[in-house]
């Protein structure tokens, strides 16, 4: 592959453009570029950002500390949510905007089980695993409600989840009668902090477990394939024997499960809950993570790893902005600018224009160097080159073929001129 790339470089202008296109066409390109860019900015501002120290936390347990650890730690809820959100986006072509509110509900249910009706209990009223299972059940129920509205009643996902978005925090407050119970004991804190003896944040392990689970599910079941099929064309999916209603419903239930895990982390971090603040605006971040991963928000094909990477990009951005002493309230404005720039450069339309510009620059320089007849010859040669390139790319993907065909077409036009 590398040899080919070098050859392609030697071939000259047309192929250089197509190589750029091939690299930038990869879905992982945008999130990786974003991470590299952010890392560079931080490096220029001072390398202390990358220092990782081993310190003792408030409870006297060893713990790694540093900005990179913070990113891994605090990006985990977002990464977990991104898994479910990617599936929902791919299957239904819409987004769930109620995840923040459902985190509040699941967290509230968890506290209700752990603390009973007592605001400051001495001991846990139930094992943590029971509370977590109840939270999972609640999360999945909320997901099932959204899923039923979307799949069975055919309401647009954003609007269907608007119901839960409006009611969620109110329901969460209602479950605990607006009390703010505090969970006793240290064990519950382990999920959002560190386990004694292991200096790496527990959340990292939780994320790894979730990623392995979804990777296994995608590998050994037809979940991924069916989800994409439903997202691309629901009718043809049904004609092929897939039940679109079930697939959409399932995507929302899986998201519900992800929400419950995120709620466990969120509640565990502070051992309590604040109904109006917990996981505020996280739905927006989760959707942005999916979009940053280059997944079409209108459904269809998806790349799970790009989404998860997207989640960490957002956390990286947040941490970087905090580093430059930007107020947490004003954070959103900077985030918005960065997101718009990223999305703008990943938009197919804009990329076309840019690659067109690159092509123009290359062919323009050629025109300056040689005589007119030579230019025409070179352009024809480039067209041929593009043609063979298209032949190479047949095995890569259909999209690439169509784009390089367009390219060669435009080349031919140039040659004619």
């Amino acid at each position: 592959m590398d040899k080919k790339k070098i050859e392609a470089n030697k071939k000259g202008s047309g192929n250089a453009a197509s190589l750029i296109k091939r690299i930038t066409g990869n879905q992982l390109f945008i999130p990786i570029m974003a991470i590299v860019l952010l890392a560079l900015i931080n490096l220029i501002a001072g390398p202390s950002f990358f220092r990782v120290k081993l310190i003792n936390n408030n409870d006297g347990n060893p713990q790694f500390s540093g900005s990179l650890i913070t990113i891994l730690d605090y990006g985990s809820e977002l990464a977990i949510l991104a898994i479910g959100m990617t599936l929902v986006t791919a299957a239904s072509g819409g987004q769930d905007i109620s995840v923040g509110a459902t985190i509040a509900i699941a967290g509230s249910a968890m506290l209700r089980i752990l603390c009973g009706s007592n605001q400051h209990p001495e001991t846990l009223k139930a094992p943590i695993i029971v509370a977590f299972l109840v939270a999972c059940l609640v999360g999945m129920l909320c997901g099932a409600f959204n899923g039923a509205l979307v799949a069975i009643f055919k309401i647009q996902p954003m609007i269907a989840t608007l119901i839960m978005f409006t009611a969620g925090r109110s329901i969460a407050a209602w479950i605990n009668s607006n009390r703010l119970p505090i969970v006793p004991g240290k064990e519950f804190k382990y999920f959002g902090g560190v386990i004694p003896g292991i200096p790496i944040p527990t959340t990292v392990f939780i994320v790894i477990i979730c990623i392995i689970a979804i990777a296994l599910a995608l590998k050994f079941t037809n979940l991924g394939l069916y989800t994409q099929a439903v997202g691309i064309n629901e009718k043809s999916a049904r004609l092929n024997g897939i039940n679109p209603i079930l697939i959409k419903f399932l995507a929302f239930v899986i998201l519900g499960l992800c929400v419950a895990v995120a709620a466990l982390i969120k509640v565990s971090r502070i051992s309590s809950i604040n109904y109006n603040v917990i996981a505020k605006d996280i739905e927006m971040d989760a959707i942005l993570a999916v979009a940053l991963g280059g997944n079409a928000l209108s459904g269809g094909k998806f790349n799970m790893w790009a989404s998860i990477l997207g989640a960490y990009v957002i956390q990286f951005l947040t941490t970087t902005l905090y580093r430059f002493h930007i107020q947490s309230d004003a954070l959103a404005a900077y985030k918005a600018v960065v997101v718009i720039l990223l999305v703008l450069f990943s938009a197919p339309k804009v990329r076309e224009v840019i690659s067109g510009l690159i092509k123009k620059i290359f062919s323009g320089s050629k025109g300056n160097n040689g005589k007119k007849t030579l230019t025409a010859l070179a352009a024809a040669g480039a067209a041929e080159g593009a043609g063979t390139d298209a032949f190479d790319e047949v095995s890569v993907s259909e999209d690439a073929v169509s784009t390089s065909e367009e390219e060669s077409d435009s080349k031919k036009e140039e040659a004619v001129q």
């Binding site: 969620g168 607006n178 918005a336 997101v339």
Partner: protein, 348 residues
């Protein structure tokens, strides 16, 4: 059998837009009459309705703009943020500039901010082919962030010219009431309501009788066939966002006239209320279906149910959220079932 046929006939004759509008209006009147009958007192006074209008004129205008975008098949969730930003900017301009700002200039600021948001977002959505949800999401983040950058602490605006404008009340003869002591209170509406109602009429005419208005419906209904009909789809989308932005700017000023202060927490969650009102008013997010007057009734329904919940003594804050959600759910289910029934009868 006969009845079914007749039903099918009615369904076929009425368009989606009119059917959903009809359902909304009927439910609103049933709800209001129910409130008057069962809760009596306050609801029988015309001023209660006017109060709902007075405090929600901004929401009405925002929902109007959102309806236009939704009819064209897009979405704009930055409107709440724009309202907040406009309120803060105008408040800072009027109160913090030395010598006090000019009221008319502040109006220009409001419309200018809205227009800027509309232009940028419209360009990104229509000409760069980025999903409207992402663009306006970023717009919302940007507006909310900018609001805190402009000013953080809440403050009251004490500009005299502004106060005069804010306290202008248009009395409506014949609808006032007497207290037990015999003092007469006239019924009144604020300037914002007049602006909102005027905009309802203008937009209604534009959407129903102009080429541009029909283009909005055509693009929202089916982009491909709109293109075949020779409609400039990109420009139509662009214009829908520009209209929405300008209306959000105007709404910001109207909202500002109502609250008369600058605060970061102003208009939080307004975009969701506006979307909910538009849906209750019979606009569908899939595009091509919607009615401006329906949106007005959507806002009124939403605010009336809030008032009913408050007056029913369910004081706990969480009941408001739950009832609004329940109502939204009800309307969505009605829409879904009605549209499906209609499709079935059409097939038969």
């Amino acid at each position: 059998m006969k009845e079914k046929k007749l039903k099918g006939g009615i369904f076929n004759r009425v368009s989606d837009t009119n059917l959903l509008f009809f359902i909304t209006v009927v439910i609103f009147f049933l709800m209001y009459i129910g409130a008057v009958v069962f809760r009596g007192g306050g609801f029988s006074k015309p001023q209660t309705l006017f109060d709902i209008l007075n405090s929600n004129a901004g929401l009405i205008i925002v929902a109007l703009g959102l309806s236009v975008v939704m009819i064209t098949g897009g979405i704009d969730i930055s409107v709440g943020g724009v309202v907040g930003l406009v309120t803060m900017c105008c408040a800072v301009y009027l109160d913090k500039t030395p010598g006090g700002g000019n009221v008319y200039v502040s109006m220009l600021i409001a419309v200018g901010i809205g227009l800027a948001f509309g232009l940028v977002q419209g360009f990104l959505v229509a000409y760069c082919d980025i999903q409207p949800f992402i663009v306006t999401l970023a717009g919302m983040f940007f507006a909310r962030g900018m609001t805190t950058i402009v000013h953080t602490k809440p403050f009251n605006v004490e500009n005299s010219a502004f106060q005069k404008l804010k306290n202008t009340r248009i009395e409506i003869p014949g609808l006032g009431w007497y207290t037990k002591k015999g003092i007469y209170f006239p019924a009144y509406i604020e300037i914002g309501v007049v602006v909102a109602l005027a905009l309802v009429v203008i937009l209604f005419i534009v959407l129903r009788y102009t080429k541009l208005g029909r283009a909005f419906y055509a693009v929202g209904g089916n982009k491909q066939s709109a293109l075949m009909l020779g409609i400039n789809v990109k420009r139509t989308k662009f214009l829908s966002h520009v209209i929405c932005g300008v209306l959000a700017g105007i709404a910001g000023y109207v909202y500002f006239l109502n609250v008369g202060s600058g605060s970061v927490s102003h208009a939080t969650g307004m975009e969701m209320n506006a979307i909910a009102s538009a849906i209750i008013g019979g606009t569908m997010l899939t595009g091509g279906v919607g009615n401006i007057v329906g949106t007005l009734f959507g806002v009124l329904s939403l605010c009336t149910i809030q008032k009913i919940v408050a007056s029913a003594g369910l004081g706990e804050a969480w009941w408001t959220g739950i009832t609004i959600a329940a109502m939204l759910c009800l309307f969505l289910l009605i829409q879904s079932v009605v549209i499906r029934l209609k499709k079935r009868t059409l097939k038969v």
